[in-house]
């Protein structure tokens, strides 16, 4: 038995918003799943298994919501697997679904990830309470800000870089109808004048809290041949984890992220990511993580990532567009955010990204991370099937 190649033949996402009061949790996931099925030209009966991911159950106050969602996802009578790997979960969910196809356990699999943050308060959900850890009570921003400061100190990056990323991503989001934030009047000056939340992270350099879901239909060679629209082909995927806190950890450029990227590139036959990858959807919840991850992912040498951002390389019309969708900075339904990165990468190589399409994109990276920069999931997709 040889491994079955994996094709993304259907992609759907919801309109992301601060509060989707027009739908229940079931209605939200159904919206994304139905769009993915329509894109694939398939119906519920064509799906053999469902893999669902989301971040903590406390965000909606539903314990193991896959049980309640079985009906809405058309999963009755089918296998339903629930993945949870913190913020990287959207990526991990897609990879677990892909493995079911690779191993030929199932022919066609629906992967779906969601978060309905308006049901709860993620800021406090992310603030670890005593007695488990020292009380942080500062959400994710308070956790990551010191790592950003360490990056600035190490790289000598000018203080303007963070605002450049935020301005770019929010401008890109204006071309993406699904993005949560559509700030038509945004200017660089407005970003720089926004309140300081966790030094050096300003309000306009942070991700919003969003309700939203993303779904993908994954299938093998035969399924791809029947698909009505061009598929995206999986060339390589990987997950890596390391402990959250220990003396040897480099929170600016975690080794798990570097190892994960190296594994993806090895599987995909990439030796020079900066030249061979046409577009990247990178998990950037706080603006400074663009230059940080550019280095971690091997797009720039250590300490040089900010130069790519400053010189416009990562702009929509640059040599390596990063987050043409507007990224996590423009829509952050946490559990779905990783899968949206994976899905947006697939849309680019399918030539189906609409107004934010990068012309001629043939190879794209989707990236997700979670925990305290602890969990990483990535995939590289291409417009052509993998060799062999």
């Amino acid at each position: 038995m040889t491994a079955e190649p994996v094709a993304v033949v259907g992609i759907g996402q919801t309109r992301h918003a601060a509060a989707r009061r027009d739908v229940s949790i079931a209605g939200l996931v159904r919206e994304a799943a139905r769009r993915a099925l329509d894109d694939a030209g398939l119906d519920w009966a064509d799906i053999d298994a469902v893999v669902i991911g989301k971040a903590p159950d406390f965000f909606e106050g539903v314990m193991m919501p896959e049980l309640y969602l079985a009906d809405a996802l058309g999963a009755v009578g089918k296998p339903l697997l629930r993945v949870h790997t913190a913020g990287s979960v959207g990526g991990s969910t897609a990879l677990v679904a892909a493995q079911l196809v690779t191993a030929r356990v199932h022919a066609t699999v629906l992967a779906l990830a969601f978060e309905k943050q308006s049901e709860s308060n993620a800021m406090w959900g992310l603030s670890l309470p005593v007695p488990f850890q020292q009380p942080l009570l500062a959400g994710a921003g308070g956790f990551f800000a010191p790592h950003v400061r360490a990056y600035i100190r190490r790289s000598g990056a000018p203080p303007s870089i963070g605002s450049l990323v935020a301005y770019k991503d929010r401008r890109n989001a204006l071309r993406n109808p699904y993005a949560h934030l559509h700030e038509h009047d945004i200017t660089l000056e407005k970003v720089q004048a926004s309140p300081m939340l966790w030094d050096p992270i300003r309000y306009s350099e942070t991700c919003p809290s969003s309700d939203g879901a993303c779904a993908m239909v994954l299938t093998g060679r035969a399924g791809a041949a029947r698909a009505p629209r061009p598929p995206a082909w999986l060339h390589g995927g990987a997950m890596r984890s390391e402990p959250t806190l220990f003396a040897g950890k480099d929170p600016v450029s975690p080794r798990a992220g570097r190892d994960c990227a190296a594994e993806v590139y090895r599987r995909a036959g990439i030796t020079d990511p900066r030249r061979e990858i046409d577009v990247a959807e990178i998990y950037v919840p706080f603006s400074w993580y663009e230059p940080m991850w550019l280095e971690n992912l091997g797009f720039a040498a250590e300490g040089e990532g900010w130069r790519l951002t400053e010189s416009g390389v990562t702009a929509l019309d640059g040599e390596l567009p990063v987050n043409p969708s507007g990224g996590v900075l423009s829509a952050n339904p946490i559990g779905a955010s990783g899968m949206i990165r994976f899905a947006e990468a697939a849309l680019q190589v399918r030539g189906a990204a609409g107004e934010h399409q990068v012309p001629g994109a043939r190879r794209a990276l989707g990236h997700a991370y979670g925990g305290g920069s602890q969990f990483f999931a990535m995939w590289l997709v291409g417009s052509e099937p993998p060799p062999g």
Binding site: I25, P56, L67, A70, V76, L81, A238, R255
Partner: protein, 354 residues
């Protein structure tokens, strides 16, 4: 890879003592000993493991991202290839099994844990239900299981005496189990929710389990008599109790069929039946006759660490094969109210290895 799908076997299994409460232990401290036991038994180190996957639930711990700390206990440095399911560890085993089938890893570490004692469990589990229509009514898991038990009695498929006998048999079998929480001659007790008495319900307890699986010839090097995973499948049913026949478990039957359980008889069945009445449902769905040894470990009525109890069923079945007490065993895990979701694994020992 070439030829037939890869053969994968359970090569080591360990579980903690299951206790009513463990205020003296963190989750990491509960998980670490069982992980070290399976590593020691195989001689493997964390760095030798190709894939790691765990199962747990934040709601039992009472906080978000509770699994991130448990990973520290694994020794995930240098970084490892790792994933987590917010489900019973039996589903983590499923994800690991698929990973080995792809050929991308040759060994996997699977672990699961639950500290059911952290909160009022009957209240906590109501949060598993439809959040708009059902959960606001706070129907607890014993009340829901009682609905199922009463449906079975009304259908003439069992009675209270037969249910009591299931509880008594389970705890008598557990008398020789070094890790069980409730063993021996435990009184059947008063009704908690009619028709279920205390003896029909699982003990509330904390515990952990770990397992190592390996592919192909590697499995034989790690274990004298590997428990080969001949098939594994899981299926889910509708959530609404009103649209299900509570006396039947079509998802179990379908999962068993897909796992290959019906192609040849099994000699042992480890069933994840937290309530005595659920063993009646599962025996019927799986067509298990009196010749099949059911839950020789004592099952979930003797120890029920949530999120680990399903993985423990697979581990108990595998351990019987390792010891030569079984040649072909079925293991079952469940999730959700009234057996909503069910997983079946079929394990075999090679007769030549006895």
């Amino acid at each position: 890879m070439s030829g037939a799908p890869r053969e994968v076997a359970v090569v080591a299994f360990a579980q903690s003592d299951h206790r009513r409460r463990t205020e003296d232990l963190s989750e990491v401290e509960m998980v670490m000993p069982v992980i070290h036991q399976v590593l020691d038994r195989t001689g493997l180190r964390t760095g030798d493991i190709g894939f790691t996957c765990s199962g747990s639930s934040d709601y039992l711990a009472g906080r978000a991202f509770s699994f991130t700390m448990a990973l520290d206990g694994v020794g995930a440095w240098p970084p490892i290839c790792e994933s987590h399911v917010e489900m019973d560890g039996a589903w983590a085993l499923y994800e690991a099994w698929v990973k080995l089938l792809t050929g991308e890893a040759d060994t996997a570490l699977v672990y699961a844990w639950g500290k059911s004692s952290s909160g009022p469990l009957r209240d906590v589990l109501t949060r598993q239900l439809d959040p708009y229509y059902t959960a606001p009514l706070w129907p607890d898991p014993i009340a829901l299981a009682a609905l199922q038990a009463q449906a079975l009695i009304d259908a003439g498929l069992t009675d209270e005496d037969a249910l009591a006998a299931i509880g008594a048999r389970s705890r008598a079998d557990a008398a020789h189990h070094p890790h069980a929480q409730l063993t021996g001659d435990v009184p059947q007790g008063d009704h908690i929710v009619r028709p279920l008495r205390r003896g029909d319900c699982p003990p509330i307890g904390d515990g952990a389990a770990a397992m190592i699986i390996a592919a192909g010839p590697g499995a034989r090097r790690l274990c004298a008599r590997p428990a080969w995973l001949r098939g594994m499948d899981h299926r889910i049913e509708p959530h609404g109790l009103g649209v299900r026949d509570l006396t039947d478990s079509p998802s179990t039957r379908l999962a068993a069929e897909r796992a290959g359980a019906f192609t040849r008889p099994v000699d042992t069945a480890e069933l994840h039946a937290p309530f005595s009445s659920q063993e009646v449902v599962l025996r019927r769905a799986l067509d298990l006759g009196p010749e099949v040894r059911v839950n020789p470990s004592g099952g979930a009525l003797a120890a029920h660490p949530l999120m680990a109890a399903g993985l423990i069923r697979v581990g108990e079945a595998a351990a019987r094969i390792h010891r030569g007490d079984s040649d072909r065993a079925l293991a079952h895990a469940t999730s959700g109210p009234c057996l909503q979701q069910n997983l079946v694994a079929v394990l075999e020992g090679d007769p030549r290895d006895r």
